[in-house]
Symmetry: C2
Subunit: 494 residues, 2 copies
Amino acid sequence: MTRYQRLATLLAQRIEQGLYQSGERLPSVRALSEEHCVSISTVQQAYHLLEEKQLITPQPRSGYFVTPRKAAPPMPAITRPAQRPVEITQWESVLELINGRLDRDNLQLGSGTPDVSSPTLKPLWKIISRIGQKQDLALLNYDNIYGYPPLREQVARLAIDSGCRLSADEVVITTGCHEALSVAIRAVCQPGDIVAVESPTFHGTMQILRGFGIRVIEIPTDSVTGISLEALELAFEQWPIKGIVVVPNCNNPLGFVMPDARKRALLTLAERFDAAIIEDDVYGELAYDYPRPITIKSLDVDGRVLLCSSFSKTLAPGLRVGWVAPGRYFDRVIHMKYIVTGSSAMQTQAAVAEFIRQGYYQPHLRRMRQQYQRNYDNFSCHVRHYFPCGICVTRPCGGFLIWIELPEAFDTVRLNRELHASNIQVAVGSLFSASGKYRNCLRLSYAMPFNPRTEQALATIAAAIESAMERCSLLPAAEPGTAQAVESRAGAKG
Amino acid sequence: MTRYQRLATLLAQRIEQGLYQSGERLPSVRALSEEHCVSISTVQQAYHLLEEKQLITPQPRSGYFVTPRKAAPPMPAITRPAQRPVEITQWESVLELINGRLDRDNLQLGSGTPDVSSPTLKPLWKIISRIGQKQDLALLNYDNIYGYPPLREQVARLAIDSGCRLSADEVVITTGCHEALSVAIRAVCQPGDIVAVESPTFHGTMQILRGFGIRVIEIPTDSVTGISLEALELAFEQWPIKGIVVVPNCNNPLGFVMPDARKRALLTLAERFDAAIIEDDVYGELAYDYPRPITIKSLDVDGRVLLCSSFSKTLAPGLRVGWVAPGRYFDRVIHMKYIVTGSSAMQTQAAVAEFIRQGYYQPHLRRMRQQYQRNYDNFSCHVRHYFPCGICVTRPCGGFLIWIELPEAFDTVRLNRELHASNIQVAVGSLFSASGKYRNCLRLSYAMPFNPRTEQALATIAAAIESAMERCSLLPAAEPGTAQAVESRAGAKG
Ligand SMILES: Cc1ncc(COP(=O)(O)O)c(C=O)c1O
Ligand SMILES: Cc1ncc(COP(=O)(O)O)c(C=O)c1O
């Protein structure tokens, strides 16, 4: 870092910490040069840098002022989906999202892909290389249907951190969490059954449910506390709900960690109505707080919880190594697994098992959690900075996904198409609803290290949003930047 | 090889070639010793060895005689399953078969696992090791849903050998042929639909159909020409059949290659009744004749054939790399793939693509075809030798599976249990029928290099069969070993 960059960083911190307040005049160039024993031109360069970042604003003949600071946007209020079973649609949009990955030029802010470039993943490559050298013929043969035993051992051990006592025998390895969800859902349901889900819900889960001819009830979900237990209870009373699919830890897309008491209450409700809980914990190990949050599975006494997860978000999705701990549905899950893929690839299982056994997993997790949290700070600071008023933004407790709610009439599908020209991809909100709700929302990923390209992309997205809002007179009429104006808007969303 | 072993091999060849005929007296020990310039004891040792192998029989005071040679057992006649849609059962037996793989002490004659110890597979390990060294981050990321592009290219190129012109765009990579079949069947059918299958049919296909709530009609199938077109036509006239699943090349379990004319006729029939054909070609590249047989897909004009295959039998099943060329069902197949696993593991796809690209695949295939054909010769010779009369045995045109039909009242489930004590596992015939037919049949694998343990196992199986047949008076009454007696029995099977 050069001298002027160091100075700029220091000044930015003072602004962030409120030592220089919003709208306040900054010290003169001369004063700063004396304070920090640097040249006049160093101070000028530092001020220029801060000006570029729009942290400070020059006023002709009166020096630099701290750019008026916007309030942090409010969080989205609880969602209000229609309370009846619906058929799932949206496959075409999901396919569009997936295919966006094909375009290497795209900045994929819409995808749920982790950062796989961390140096803490290097040992995994070494392990793969060593597998090639060791030539264990067993790795070329059919795996047993339950999964590679050393990996099942490791998965059972890891589960302890989430409060779960699992034996390796209770774990079934799958081809990613995707297959885990597929077989869990198939084990619990028949075509035509009804399943309750959080709203919004991960589009993959939605498509899996659709693929098996299952109708869903989308339950109102709060971006802090998770699925509404009150609404769920009402739904249970009205419909023969076979199971509930939830992502209680670092929810995709809302980012909440459900409080323990609510996890317990959800389980009690499931027991009362004799429903299964399919618990998707794929982001659970990426919670920013330590120790990691417990799973509902850890509270389960009669085996009604099917815990699904994978190493796709924590290590690498290309490995396709996931698992399910299906409780009392074990036998049916095995049958479904046989039907779906027969068995899983051996090599990647062996590589992951070895990576964990050699002690590389926890340091890697620690680093990724820190990186994502740091990215989040950067990202949310820039969102606050660039994005117009009248939006709501989640405050994720883990993972790397943020959910932005725009005024109700906003069309993110159209926005996404506009952004395509700038090689930016976002995930449109309607993917996360069975019936195409949340067209006014979008999900962004902050997995990748924050860099000028990301910042530029955020500015582009913000500008596109702002101009669309202007076009449709969606910008709040009140003083921009006041929390009140924003909140009154938020109340109007669907 | 010692001197006496060499002599024994020479004599065995002469017997095999008919120079010494069935029942004929062999030269005296002295005469042979002079003929071959070896010691008397060498000849005696050689004769002992042949006696142990039951190729020759000593007669007190008159020397050695060629053990009366049995006629090759006849092939099974066309099967006669019930001609109506049935629900599929048998999952418990399939699970038992799969779990047999867990027991490393078991000699797994029942499993469809290829020999993965061939030196022609060594380059695959090198490639895996190099993948670990190259650290291509793309391999850690989500694959695109269609599969790894270089692998799709290679698969399309290989298809040329089966008469197929495919572009890479028409190929979808799957997690083994299992997933290929799963998604193909889901793409064509809805729960409750009726599908026609060969009878017997690979148990995996049967379970996949069951898992999706599909009923099957088992169509009579001939062990030389394949599925009966006449019976299929009748079934079409009577039932709304959505699709046909066939393994026309090196059928599992019957081993036939359907003649081209019949492949064409089958396609015509499917066109007439507007049904899809799900063609499973997983053993097609292991046909003993060169060039390999064509696929039905190669004749397809309107995209109704979904070609499913994998590298599980040709390379290694632990890789879980398969594919489907779904014709006009492409979009639905992609949707189903997303639902089932999302995408496939990257590394193993990259390894296979590289193995083929570097030219290792064809030499490997050539070697495996030769090995399996040689194993078959050995295997069938020993079956003929050890097994009692009254059985029918297939003559596979490729692959490494043989189907043995015992008298109708025979119970192979019980046999399998008895063999368990000797650490031998066979595949019971009832696995290959939706309704548990073929309890009197068994499938054996001859993939592994033939060795004394295999020979011992065959002798054990044969003895168990013979004693069971004696117990139930199932041995043919006529002169043992005459083809006639055997064939009259064969007529009586179900
Ligand atoms: C909540 C949730 N569950 C499951 C998955 C699928 O995980 P995998 O890649 O292991 O199949 C994802 C990935 O996008 C996800 O976000
Ligand atoms: C006829 C047939 N189809 C499909 C399969 C499954 O192949 P894969 O291991 O590639 O899933 C087998 C393997 O047993 C088979 O015999």
